[in-house]
Every structure is written in C-alpha cells, then in structure tokens.
C-alpha cells in the first residue's frame, strides 16, 4: 500500500519570534511506520501538533486521504481519524478500563425512552479492542491500578475504537521496560499490517532503526533527511539531526580513590561508592533502583545510616543528605526545578546558606557563580533571569546539575539523567558526569537506558526485587550482558 494517509505540504509555523517549522513537507502512508526524529526544538512536536489539530499552520496545507483539511481543534483531527498518544496519557484514573475506552462516545441503550449507557456492550467493545492488541485484562479494573505500559495500551485501544487511520505516538517507550517495549512493537507491527499509518516520535535511535519503514529527520524547523528502511543507521541519524558526525565517546577508566559513600547497616541493596567512580544501577521498573537513590537522599520515608567520607551519618531527609555532601537529580524534571522561578534562583537554591553573609544574601557572588556554571554547562540561552519553564528539556536538566555543582557536593545521585533529552545535550550531560567523577566525585546513576549505563559506568549493580544481584565491572560491561542480568 503506498497511498498517502496524511501529509503536510510546505507547512510553516511561528511562535512569536521563533520559527518552529519552515516550509516542511511530510507524508505518512497507510501501513507504514514513519519515524520522526530531531533534537529538542527541531520542530517534531510542532509538526505532530499541526497534524493533531492542536495548532494551525501559518502557511502550507494538511491533507488526510487526499482531502484538504483545516482542523480548528483536536476534535476535528480525531473525527478525521487522527489519534495522538501523548507522553502524558489522558486517561481518567478513577474510571474503569472499559469506561475509559468508551469515554466521550459510550454505547447507549434506551430505558423507558431515556438513553443510558449500555454497560454490557461497553465491556464487550473494550474486550474486542484490547483483544486486537492481545491484551486481555479485567475491563472493570480501575485505570489507576494499571502500570504505565498497560495504560498506554488502553489509550491505543481507545484510538482504535475511533477507527483511527493515523496513530501518532510521542516518545512512547520513554517509561517502558524492555519486555513492554517488545509488546508495544508487536502491537504497532500488527496495526501497520492492518493498514494503519503510524508516526513514531522518539529519541531512541536504535528503536527507530529496528522499527521504522521510513524516517524523517528534522533540524531547526527544516527537513534534514528522509530515508527508507535499511538506508540509515543510528550514526547517520545523529549526523542528520546535529549536522555533525556522531561523536565517538572515548572511554577512560579513572583510578578509583577513597570510599565516599558506604552503607553501614546490613541490607539487601548495599552501596559502596568510591571517589572518581561512576556506579550504574540497572533493573526493571519496580526492581528498587530508584528506591536506592531515594533512600540515599533521605526521601521516600526511609532512613539510611551510611558512612560519608569516613563519617557516620543518618540520612532522614534531604537536608541531612545535602549537609553530608550528597545531591540528587530526580527522575522527573518537575521535582528538580521550580519552573516559575528563574534559572539563577534555581541554581543557587541549595547553596543559599553558603551565599549569605550574616543573614543577607550576597547577590554579586551568587550572580558570578551562576554565570560560571551556565558557561561550564553550556546552558542555553545564557540568560539567568529567564524562568526555567522557558528552557528546553536538555537545558533544564543541565540547570538541575548546576544546582549541585554550585553546592560542590561530593556525591551525585542521578535518576534517569538523560530521559527525554536530545542527542546533543545527552552527550554534554555524559561529559559533565565524567568530568565530575574525574575531579574526585562519586556518581550513582540509575537508568533504564542500558546502552547509556554501558557507556557511562565504571561498574553496574544489577537489581531485582529490591536486592542487588550482581556487580558487572567495566571490562565485561555491555548492553546484552546487562539485559541478561536484570531480566534474569
């Protein structure tokens, strides 16, 4: 099948002074998985939102099945058969699976002449839709009892019920485990064979190489490349996205120094971190990797007794941890930043007490520190007075790192430090983490991106059900080895 399910011709979109898209041609065919990649700010989201009816193009036109369409709102797009599955799923947690799938357009029957919801048919339809995805749960379960991956399938089933021609997935695997990703890919493959057109937006290039029939690379609002399956590799994509050859990461192994952080109590997930060392934590969702990071920062209702730099410390809350010289970059950016405050305020927040003379803040010293760190971390734009909400994801993540560098912590706990960050910023963040370790710091990093751990860490602790099951050293560290260790 080669006819175009949806296309954009010469679309442009400006937001204020920034040109998000400039004369972009794009089309997706029925029965095709078309990947859309690009760095943050390249225009992926804007293009997807134009197709989904969220925004209207300033110039150019959108056609669906060969007909010109002008969507006034997302509802128009949905009626035209375009369904978008965003990163943050729009489901109602307090309703059941069947109710969520039927939401907005439930099957009705008449009782004494009044229309009421036909619950039997609603359940039946939900089972049919989910059956197509080979997911057979109890459809009366409330959605808030489901895992993220299951919710995603519910969202897809909901789109299927609306007879969608074009399914748009925005970073669908960002929060999924390996097995769940495999199941999702199987679902997408089946939908494709049934003739659905699929647009797949992702930062994970290896997935795209494995999955996509075609790939469009956007750069600065323009189409940088369009290639067919088999014609592109992950390295080609990086080059098209950034305009420069993929940086190869020279890995140097630091000689490890003294023990910085060490558990004293007997426990199933003991941690020992030395100076100059980057230790990875690998495990499936629920294996306890993020619990380790939380407890070492004194959050999550746990108290850890540890030795930091040879000194016994009780970590009961973040204040204890920060005093002991530990900083944490949380897995969710909204927990790391106060979005309405400026970049400057965010960077100096953990260091306010050190920047005070008596009880008065030394603004000049603070400004100087912030300027230094923004240069060092290449935070863009270089404007400390901007609210952090105005920054891209990669730059926000750099600001969170800058907070702890400003505080001069010795130990960094990182939870998914590059999730949802584009390739360029990812490389910069990795370089910063290595630099921090080289200068004598210790880093504990939890990540579901095993290739990231394989590249970054000196040693990886594999975890299962709250316990550390083995430690894999640098020499034998690779992605397959890690997969085997955590999947068991």
């Amino acid at each position: 099948m080669t006819h175009s399910a949806a296309s954009a011709k010469g679309v442009s979109k400006r937001f204020g002074a920034t040109c998000a898209l400039d004369g972009v041609d794009f089309d997706v065919r029925s029965g095709e998985i078309h990947a859309l990649v690009g760095e943050n700010g390249a225009g992926k989201s804007t293009l997807v939102r134009l197709l989904g009816g969220v925004h209207r193009p300033d110039q150019g036109e959108i056609t669906v099945d060969g007909h010109l369409r002008r969507f006034a709102n997302p509802h128009d797009a949905i009626s035209a058969g375009i369904a978008t599955i965003p990163q943050e799923l729009r489901l109602v947690p307090a309703l059941s699976i069947a109710e969520n799938i039927a939401l907005g357009d439930p099957p009705l029957r008449r009782l004494l002449g009044f229309p009421i919801i036909d619950r039997g048919r609603m359940r039946e339809e939900a089972r049919t839709q989910l059956g197509q995805l080979e997911f057979i749960p109890d459809v009366d379960l409330l959605v808030d009892q489901l895992t993220f991956a299951e919710r995603q399938l519910i969202a897809i089933a909901k789109a299927l019920r609306k007879r969608c021609r074009l399914l748009i997935l925005d970073e669908p695997t960002a929060a999924l485990e390996t097995r769940e990703i495999e199941r999702l890919f199987a679902v997408l493959d089946r939908m494709k064979r049934q003739g659905t057109a699929i647009i797949y937006v992702s930062h994970r290039l290896d997935e795209i190489v494995a999955l996509a029939d075609r790939c469009t690379v956007l750069r600065d609002g323009h189409v940088a490349a369009v290639s067919q399956r088999g014609e592109f590799s992950a390295a080609d994509l990086v080059q098209a996205m950034t305009g420069r050859a993929a940086a190869d990461f020279a890995i140097e192994i630091n000689p490890h120094g003294n023990t910085l952080l060490e558990d004293i109590e007997e426990r199933a997930d003991p941690i020992r971190l030395r100076a100059n060392e980057i230790v990875g934590l690998a495990g499936l969702l629920g294996s306890g990797t993020n619990r380790v990071l939380q407890r070492l920062f004194g959050v999550g209702g746990t108290r850890s007794v540890v030795r930091v730099n040879g000194e016994r410390r009780l970590l009961a809350n973040p204040i204890d941890a920060i005093r002991a010289g530990i900083g944490m970059v949380p897995g969710e950016r909204r927990l790391g930043l106060i979005m309405n405050l400026s970049v400057r305020e965010n960077i100096i927040l953990p260091s306010l007490d050190r920047l005070a003379v008596g009880c008065i803040l030394n603004r000049a010293a603070g400004d100087q520190l912030v300027a230094q760190l923004m240069d060092l971390l290449d935070v863009r734009p270089r404007r400390p007075e901007l609210p952090t909400s105005a920054l891209s994801g990669g730059n926000q993540q750099k600001v969170i790192l800058a907070k702890w560098l400003a505080r001069q912590v010795g130990v960094l706990l990182l939870d998914e430090p590059t999730q949802g960050v584009d390739v360029g910023a990812k490389a910069q963040i990795h370089a910063l983490i290595r630099d921090f370790a080289r200068k004598g710091g210790g880093v504990l990093v939890g990540s579901s991106d095993l290739s990231e751990l394989a590249r970054l860490a000196d040693g990886v602790l594999a975890m299962r059900q709250g316990s550390v099951t083995q430690r894999i050293e640098r020499g034998e560290l690779n992605e397959n080895r890690l997969h085997a260790a955590i999947d068991g």
Binding site: F297, V299, P318, I319, I322, M328, P330, R334, L335, G336, L337, I338, M339, N340, L341, E345, I348, L349, P350, L352, D353, L355, A356, C359, I360, L361, R363, K403
Partner: protein, 313 residues
C-alpha cells in the same frame, strides 16, 4: 507588544497603571477626591489594610491562604486594649502582636505539619477566634473610657506631617521587602510556594518555611489589630469583619498568584490602594452601597481573569 513597552515591563505594572487611571478618573469626575482631607482619609484607611495585606502576601507567596486575619485583628485589638488598661502601653501592644502571632503559629502548625488544607484550617480558626473574642470581651467593647492618651494619640497624631498609622506599613514594606529579596529565608519562601516538593528536594525545610509565613501573617494582623484599636480608641469585638476578603483581593489585584511562588509586597499595597480608592470613588460618586458591593466583586474576578489570560499567552 511594542519593544519600549516591554522594556518598561508594562505587563508587571498593570496594578500601578490601574490605580493611576482610577485616581485620574475619580479626580475628573468629582472635585472632592483631591481634597487634603479625602487623601489623608484614604491613606489612613489603607494603612491598616496594608499591614494585613503584607502578611497575606507572605502566606500566598508561600503557596497558602489565610481566612483568619479578620478575626485575628479583632482578637489582637481586644487583647491589646485589655492589657493596656491594666499593664500599660508597651506590654499591651506586645501582647496584641504576640496573640496574633500565636494564632498564626497554630495555623502554621496545623497546615504545615499535619497537612490540613489551608482553606479549611483558616476557615476554622476564623470562626474559632471570633468566638474567643466574644468570650474574653463578653461581646462589649474593651477600654472604652480608660485608654491612655498616648495610645489614642498613636491612632490620630502625625509625625513629619504623616499619620503614625501610615508610617507603620511604610516602614514594614521596606524592611520586609528586603527580607523577601535579600535573605536566604525570603528566597526559600518563593521556592516553597513555587514547587513545594522540588524545594524540599533542594534542601529547603519546607514545613518550617510554610509555618513561618502564617506566623508573619498572624503577627502582622496583630499589629493591624493594635492600630485599629488605637484608631477606634477601644478594642472592638466586631472589628475586622470581611478584612480577610479585602486583603486577599488586594494581594491578587497586586499580581500575586494564588498557586504560590509569585508576588511582591509593594504591589500588594498598590492592590490595597486600588480597593480603598475604589470604595472611596464609588462613595464620592454617590453609587448605591449595594451596587458598590457588586462592582467590587466584579472587579476582583476581572483582575484574576486578566491574570489567567496573561499566563495563557
């Protein structure tokens, strides 16, 4: 927006522009508005509300809400009046302020430590404290006859041509703006109101910060209560009714965000002036008092709606 408007940050000065337009309009419509007596009246009326609004701004920037300030004003005024009669002015004034701070401390403890919703907590203390006022006073005004002349003078005399009552918020706003902007404590209030969880993970003792904002609010309502007692020459158990609503409206008119993390003390005071000048203006224009209420309510909603529209863009 044209660049020169952006440079002057016109969007941030909407409260001030509104106030100026309101004054111009009233001055053109009636000749009594600019009379020295009327202007002095506006200043004195605004002074007590300004002190309350400063405290309310602390709480709202910290992400909270305080409905109990009106009752606190009455409580502090009556306590001050009762103590002054027995132990003198200094002890009495301190007792008034401390009783306000104590109510704020109780609010803060319940809201920050127990995690009870601020709206419900302060709705409770609003009613409870008003009850206490009637209990300690028996419902009658306190110190009607026996207030020392120095205290009464504080409520009516002037220093350098300006009422003492007006000096109080003027000094407070300068000192407390400094605290808000130039101390770690002040920045932590903004951080906590902006995102409590992220502030906690950055090492801010958020519970203590939140509780402290209610102590400020209570103590400042206590000061306002003492000021009102001096002006009324007695402690009035019915004083301060609906003050909480005027104060909250003024803070919102001054551009503070009810979701926390945003707001400026001096702009809240501009908000107070808008509320007081509006009332004054409607009076001078002989607008029916029932219609005045309708107008004030509509303007509060319009201000909040304008703020939402600005954020959406």
């Amino acid at each position: 927006m044209p660049p020169f408007l952006k440079r002057w940050n016109v969007a941030g000065q909407v409260p001030l522009i509104t106030l100026i337009l309101l004054c111009l309009f009233t001055a053109l419509m009636t000749d009594r508005f600019l009379s020295p007596l009327n202007l002095t009246n506006i200043l004195v009326q605004s002074s007590i509300m300004a002190v309350i609004a400063i405290g309310m701004t602390f709480v709202i920037i910290g992400g909270g809400f305080d409905l109990s300030v009106g009752s606190t004003v009455a409580f502090a005024g009556c306590v001050a009046a009762m103590v002054i009669v027995k132990f003198g002015i200094v002890v009495g004034v301190l007792a008034g302020i401390l009783s306000g701070a104590a109510i704020g401390f109780a609010n803060g403890l319940i809201i920050a430590k127990l995690g009870v919703n601020p709206f419900i907590t302060t709705l409770g203390t609003m009613v409870l404290v008003r009850g206490l006022v009637y209990l300690i006073t028996g419902g009658a005004p306190v110190g009607d006859d026996g207030m020392p002349s120095a205290f009464i003078a504080f409520g009516s005399a002037r220093f350098l041509g300006v009422h003492y009552l007006v000096w109080v918020p003027a000094v407070l706003v300068v000192v407390l703006s400094f605290v808000m902007h130039m101390t770690p404590y002040g920045r932590r209030i903004y951080a906590t109101g902006g995102n409590r969880e992220a502030a906690y993970l950055s090492g801010v003792a958020v519970e203590r910060v939140i509780a402290s904002t209610y102590v400020w609010c209570g103590a400042l309502a206590g000061i306002a209560g003492v000021m009102l007692a001096a002006r009324l020459q007695s402690g009035q158990p019915t004083a301060g009714e609906f003050y909480e609503l005027t104060a909250i409206a003024a803070v919102v008119l001054g551009g503070a965000a009810l979701h926390g993390g945003e707001g400026t003390l001096y702009k809240s005071i501009i908000g107070v002036f808008i509320m007081i000048v509006l009332g004054n203006s409607l009076n001078l224009l002989n607008v029916d008092s029932y219609w005045q209420r309708v107008a004030v309510g509509a303007i509060i909603i319009a201000a909040a709606a304008a703020d939402r529209l600005r954020l959406r863009r």
